[in-house]
C-alpha cells in the first residue's frame, strides 16, 4: 500500500510563520526542528557549563567554602543531568540527525514529521522542570545516576521532579529513535542502496537501535524508583527487603548504551567531516559499518563493568571485563580508519578540521583509560575517584562536544548561507583544547592518588593539582566567548558561503544554502559515491 505525501502537512506548511518565528512554532520541517534542538541544547549547555564552573570554583580550595556541601551535591547532580539529557543526547542525535538524515537518504522530510515535532517540544518543558527541581525544597542530590538508597532515603520533591523530567526526556529520545530507524530503512530514495549511505546514517541507525532497546528499561526503572519514593514500596530499599544492586543493573543497562548513544553519532559526524577537508575518500567504509554494528551489539552486554565494586560475582566480573575489552576492537578499527583517511590527504587546516583532529587525540586517550578501567583489579582501586571523572569527560567532552563544535563549523554555511570567521574559530579551538586538557588530564593523577569524586572537600595535598584543573575549567568557560561572538557576527554579516563552500560530495551540499522548505527544487539527487573525492581531484586536473 502506498500513501501520498500528507496533504494536510503541505497546508500546514503555508500557515507556518516565516523567518525567526518559525523556530518558536510547532514546525514540521526537519531543518527547523534540527535548529530548534541545537539552539535549545546550547542554552542548556550554557546553564550546565555555569554549574560546572561553580563546581570547579568550589574545588579550587580543599574546604567547602564556596557553597555548602548539600548545595554542591545538588549542583553536580544538575550539571550531570543537564549535560547528558539536555545537551549531548538531543544535540548529537536530534539536532544533526534531524537536519542531515533526510538529505542523506534523499527525502523531503523525516518519516513521521508530527512525531518529530512532538519529540522536540517535550524537551523545553522537561528541561525547565529539571532546572526548577533545583529550587524546590530538597533538590535532587544523588548524582545523575540517582542511586538508591541515597535517592530514596532523602525522599524529597526535587528527586521526584527530576525523575519525571528524565522520563519525559527518555520518551522524546525514543520517539526520535523510532523516527530515525523508519527514515533510514524505509524512506530512502529509490535506487539508493544501504551501503551507499553516508556514514552518519549508519551511526544514527545504530544509535537509534540502542535508544529503542535500552531507554525503555531506564523508564521502567525510574517508575519503580518513584514508587519507592512516593508509595513507600521496597524495590530498591534494603530495609524493606529490596535490592539496590538490581537498580544498578537496570540503570546501567540503559546508561552504558547511553555512552554509545552520545558518542556513536559523533563517530558518524567525524566520518563526514574528515574526508571533505582532507579531500580523500573515507578509508574502510565497510569495516566502519561493521564496527558500528559491532559496537551496538557489544554495547548492550557490557553494563556491569560500572558495578565491579557492587559485590558482583567473579563469573560476572570475568564476562564483563572480556566483553568490554572486545569493544576496543571495533573502536580501534574506526580510529585507524580516520587516521588512514587523513594520511596523505590534501588537508585544509580550518576550524572544523582542527576540532575533528582534537576529537581524535582526546578520544584515543579516553579510549585507553576506558580499556584500563575495564580491568577488574585496576577498576576496584580507582572506582568512584577522579580517574573515572577524567575518563568520562575525555569521552564525552573531548570526544562528543569537540565534534559538536566541529560540525557547527562544518555545516554553519549550509544552514545560514554565511561563512563563520576562521580566525575566531581557530582561537576557539586553541583555548578549548588547552583548557580541556588542562582541566581533565590532571584529574587522572588525582584519581590514581585516591581523590574521591562527588565530594565537596578533599585532602589539602591535592590542592595544587585541583587549582590547575580549575584554571583549565576557566579557560573552557572563556572559550565559549569567541564562539558566541563568531556566530552572532557571522549570522549578521558573514561572508556569503554559496551552495557548496567546501566542494563536498554528500547530498546536503547539492541544494541551495539555506535549503528550500522541501529540501530539493526538483527530484532528490542520487549520490552513489558520497566519498568519491580522489576521482573528483583527478578529473579536475
Amino acid at each position: 500500500m502506498t500513501i501520498s505525501i500528507d496533504p494536510q502537512k503541505t497546508n500546514n506548511e503555508s500557515l507556518q510563520p516565516k523567518g525567526w518565528l518559525r523556530y518558536f512554532s510547532f514546525s514540521l520541517d526537519h531543518k527547523v526542528i534540527g535548529i530548534q534542538y541545537l539552539v535549545c541544547g546550547f542554552l542548556f549547555y550554557l546553564i550546565g557549563g555555569t554549574l560546572a564552573s561553580a563546581i570547579r570554583i568550589e574545588l579550587a580550595s580543599p574546604m567547602s567554602d564556596f557553597m555548602p556541601r548539600d548545595v554542591y551535591n545538588q549542583v553536580l547532580t544538575l550539571h550531570g543531568t543537564i549535560m547528558i539529557f539536555l545537551w549531548i543526547v538531543p544535540v548529537v542525535n536530534g539536532a544533526f540527525g534531524n537536519y542531515l538524515i533526510p538529505f542523506y537518504v534523499g527525502a523531503r522530510d523525516m518519516a513521521f514529521p508530527r512525531l518529530n515535532a512532538v519529540a522536540f517540544w517535550l524537551i523545553p518543558p522537561s528541561g525547565l522542570m529539571l532546572v526548577a527541581s533545583y529550587f524546590v525544597e530538597g533538590a535532587a542530590q544523588a548524582g545523575w545516576t540517582a542511586y538508591p538508597p541515597l535517592s530514596i532515603t532523602t525522599p524529597q520533591s526535587g528527586q521526584i521532579i527530576w525523575i519525571l523530567s528524565v522520563l519525559l526526556l527518555g520518551g522524546s529520545s525514543i520517539f526520535g529513535g523510532i523516527n530515525f530507524i523508519a527514515t533510514i530503512i524505509k524512506l530512502r530514495r529509490p535506487g539508493l542502496k544501504l551501503m551507499q549511505l553516508p556514514m552518519y546514517c549508519w551511526a544514527m541507525l545504530g544509535t537509534s537501535l540502542l535508544v529503542v532497546l535500552s531507554t525503555p528499561v531506564l523508564a521502567g526503572t525510574l517508575i519503580l524508583l518513584s514508587f519507592d519514593i512516593i508509595a513507600n514500596t521496597g524495590f530498591f530499599n534494603p530495609v524493606l527487603g529490596g535490592n539496590v544492586v538490581v537498580y544498578q543493573h537496570l540503570f546501567w543497562f540503559y546508561s552504558h548504551p547511553a555512552v554509545y548513544i552520545m558518542v556513536l553519532p559523533a563517530f558518524g559526524l567525524v566520518s563526514e567531516i574528515l574526508p571533505v577537508h582532507a579531500r580523500k575518500p573515507l578509508f574502510g567504509y565497510t569495516t566502519m559499518v561493521f564496527s558500528i554494528m559491532g559496537i551496538v551489539v557489544l554495547g548492550l552486554v557490557v553494563w556491569a563493568h560500572h558495578m565491579f565494586t557492587s559485590g558482583t560475582p567473579p563469573w560476572m566480573r570475568l564476562f564483563f571485563t572480556i566483553a568490554t575489552a572486545f569493544i576496543a576492537v571495533p573502536t580501534g578499527i574506526k580510529f585507524f580508519n580516520w587516521v588512514a583517511t587523513l594520511w596523505g590527504g590534501k588537508i585544509s587546516i580550518n576550524s572544523a578540521m582542527l576540532f575533528s583532529c582534537g576529537f581524535i587525540i582526546n578520544f584515543v586517550f579516553g579510549g585507553i583509560t576506558g580499556v584500563a578501567l575495564a580491568q577488574v583489579p585496576f577498576d576496584i582501586h580507582v572506582h568512584d575517584t577522579y580517574f573515572v571523572v577524567a575518563h568520562f569527560h575525555y569521552i564525552v567532552y573531548g570526544g562528543t562536544v569537540f565534534i559538536i563544535f566541529s560540525s557547527i563549523y562544518h555545516w554553519f554555511p549550509k544552514v545560514t548561507g554565511k561563512m563563520l570567521n576562521e580566525k575566531l574559530g581557530i582561537l576557539h579551538f586553541i583555548i578549548t583544547f588547552i583548557g580541556f586538557n588542562l582541566c581533565f588530564a590532571p584529574q587522572h593523577w588525582l584519581g590514581l592518588n585516591g581523590m574521591p569524586r562527588r565530594v565537596a572537600e578533599y585532602d589539602p595535598q591535592f590542592q595544587f593539582v585541583n587549582q590547575i584543573s580549575s584554571l583549565g575549567a576557566l579557560l573552557m568557560a572563556i572559550s565559549t566567548i569567541p564562539f558566541l561572538i563568531n556566530v552572532f557576527l557571522s549570522v549578521r554579516n558573514g561572508k556569503d558561503a554559496g551552495d557548496n563552500p567546501w566542494n563536498a560530495l554528500t547530498p546536503e551540499w547539492l541544494t541551495s544554502s539555506p535549503p528550500p522548505v522541501e529540501n530539493w527544487e526538483g527530484e532528490a539527487p542520487l549520490v552513489e559515491e558520497p566519498y568519491g573525492y580522489g576521482k573528483e581531484i583527478s578529473e579536475q586536473k
Binding site: 513521521f112 529503542v212 525503555p216 514500596t233
Partner: protein, 200 residues
C-alpha cells in the same frame, strides 16, 4: 522559497502532489512495540532477579489463586480472535459486523479489567507489604494500564467503523490493523506474565 520564480513554484507543487511513498506507519508501530516490550523485559528481569536472590521473610510467601488469572488468560486469547474477526469483516465491507466484533472485543477487555480488580481486592497482601507484593502489583498494574489504553482505542475504532461517515473503511484499515497489533502484543505480554508470575 523566495528564490523560486513562479513557474518553478508550480512545477514543484505538481511534483509534490504526485509523489507517493510506501506506508510505513506499521513499521513505526512495530519499532515502538519493541521499545514497549523492553520496558516489560526490564520488569520481568527485575522480578526474576528478586526471586533468585532476595528470599522473602518467613511467613511472607503467598500462594496466588489460579482461577481468576486463568479465566483472564482465556478472555484475552478469545478477544484476540474476535478482533481478528472484526478485521476480516471490515475487509469484506461488512462494517456493522466489524463494529459488533469490536464492541465484543472491548467488552472482553473490560471484563478482564473487572476480574483483575476483583483479584486485587481479594488478595491477602497490599502494595507495600513485601517485595513480592510490590513487584506483583507493579507488573500486573503496568499491564492493566496497557489493557485499559487498548480497550479505549478499540472503542474509538469501533465508533469510527460506523456505516455512515466513519473513517474506518475497507480502503482505510490502518487504524484497525494498528490497534489489532497492539492488542495482540498486550495479549502476548499477558501470557508471558501469567507464566512467570503465576505458574513459576
Amino acid at each position: 522559497m523566495t528564490t523560486l520564480d513562479s513557474s518553478k513554484e508550480i512545477q514543484k507543487n505538481n511534483s509534490e502532489v504526485n509523489e507517493t511513498h510506501e506506508d510505513f506507519r506499521m513499521f513505526g508501530l512495530i519499532t515502538f512495540l519493541i521499545a514497549d516490550g523492553m520496558t516489560f523485559a526490564g520488569f520481568f528481569a527485575a522480578y526474576l532477579t528478586y526471586k533468585a536472590v532476595n528470599p522473602l521473610p518467613d511467613g511472607a510467601i503467598y500462594e496466588l489463586e489460579l482461577p481468576i488469572p486463568t479465566l483472564n488468560t482465556i478472555l484475552l486469547l478469545v478477544s484476540s480472535a474476535t478482533f481478528h474477526k472484526a478485521g476480516k469483516a471490515l475487509l469484506k465491507d461488512k462494517n456493522s459486523d466489524a463494529q459488533k466484533w469490536l464492541f465484543f472485543t472491548a467488552f472482553l477487555g473490560i471484563i478482564f479489567l473487572i476480574c483483575q480488580l476483583f483479584e486485587y481486592f481479594h488478595l491477602p497482601f497490599g502494595l507495600t507489604d513485601n517485595l513480592f507484593a510490590s513487584t506483583f502489583y507493579a507488573l500486573t498494574g503496568f499491564h492493566g494500564l496497557h489493557v485499559t489504553l487498548g480497550t479505549l482505542m478499540i472503542l474509538i475504532i469501533a465508533w469510527q467503523s460506523r456505516i455512515n461517515g466513519g473513517r474506518l473503511t475497507s480502503q482505510n484499515t490502518f487504524p484497525l490493523e494498528a490497534v489489532e497489533l497492539y492488542w495482540h502484543f498486550v495479549d502476548g505480554i499477558w501470557v508471558i506474565l501469567f507464566i512467570i508470575l503465576y505458574l513459576l
